[in-house]
């Protein structure tokens, strides 16, 4: 089973890369871009047939390794 995870910076945490991307987009003519927040995407293949169980395991992985909860949030999709 494949589980997808998106890790993003928490609201209010400075994202200099996102800011640089936003300014570049503005400079390229995409003037209506107000904000860009950059994140990470993980595609995890796990040996588990029960989706609820798999997601619970991935949640544990997010808390222990994939995200740093001081500055990041995660979403399992």
């Amino acid at each position: 089973m494949k589980i997808k995870v998106i890790v993003t910076l928490k609201n209010g945490v400075l994202d200099p890369q996102g800011k640089a991307i936003q300014q570049t987009l503005n400079g390229m003519g995409f003037e209506n871009v107000k904000e860009v927040r950059q994140g990470k995407y993980f595609n995890i293949e796990i040996n588990e047939n029960d989706e609820a169980k798999a997601k619970l395991k991935v949640e544990d992985m997010c808390k222990k390794l994939l995200a740093n909860l001081v500055i990041e949030d995660f979403k399992i999709i």
Partner: protein, 227 residues
């Protein structure tokens, strides 16, 4: 006095640290990250570098390595742990130190000498130190210290801010903050002050002719405090 320097794949300040520790009288051993046990030591050092290629987040993979449980146990039981640069990042990833080191504010790798002021001398690292403002070298891409407001209040209340970026005179301001770190924080302690993480490299400042000797001041003082 016995010290141990942990080597992770991608560490690159481990040998500099070994030279520095031996120069000031430590009997130093190098410890491989795949080992489970630490040799008997008075000081454990996590050196600078790019452990595991800085994959995922700086220090995150090293923070789960085989040796790290022994380091956590050693630190939690009051043993002296020093993390420099990537070592500081590893200490925050293990949770031994609060906060996180984010990418530098202006997205640049910074490699230069800076001044840092020692804020607290009631600990084994800085007790009796003869200089309060040290000129040290920094070389990092992720040194921008950040923590939540509640955490900041807690580390300020406990005097856990060990060293802060300042100018030559010891004044904190934006100009002397190289990477955007919260409150100019260059290094912090845990609550008990037996664990210190800092971005500047004292091991690079131990030669009168090549670099200056403010790192020597740090190491001489440290071994003096342990004797």
């Amino acid at each position: 006095m016995k010290s141990s320097v942990i080597i992770f794949p991608g560490s690159n300040c481990d040998r500099d640290m070994d030279v520095a520790l031996k120069k000031f009288g430590f009997k130093n051993q190098m410890v491989w990250h795949n080992d489970f046990e630490l040799p008997k030591s008075d000081l454990i050092v996590l050196p600078g570098g790019f452990s595991y290629g800085d994959y995922l987040r700086c220090g995150s993979i090293a923070g789960k390595s085989k040796i790290i449980n022994s380091v956590i146990e050693y630190g939690k039981s009051g043993g002296l742990v020093l993390g420099i640069c990537n070592g500081f990042q590893i200490l925050t990833e293990t949770g031994l130190l609060p906060g996180v080191l984010q990418q530098n504010k202006y997205l640049e790798f910074i490699c230069k000498n800076v001044y840092v002021k020692i804020n607290d001398t009631e600990n084994k690292f800085f007790k009796n130190i003869k200089k309060k403002i040290l000129e040290l070298h920094i070389a990092h891409n992720e040194g921008n210290y950040f923590c939540s407001n509640d955490e900041l209040k807690s580390i300020e209340d406990n005097n856990q801010i060990a060293v802060s970026y300042c100018n030559k005179e010891g004044t904190y301001n934006n100009e002397s903050n190289p990477n955007g770190a919260l409150k100019n924080i260059a290094g912090i302690f845990n609550k008990k002050k037996n664990i210190l993480g800092m971005m500047p490299h004292p091991e690079r400042m131990i030669d009168k002719y090549l670099s200056g000797e403010d790192g020597s001041v740090f190491f001489e003082n440290l071994i003096g405090n342990l004797k």
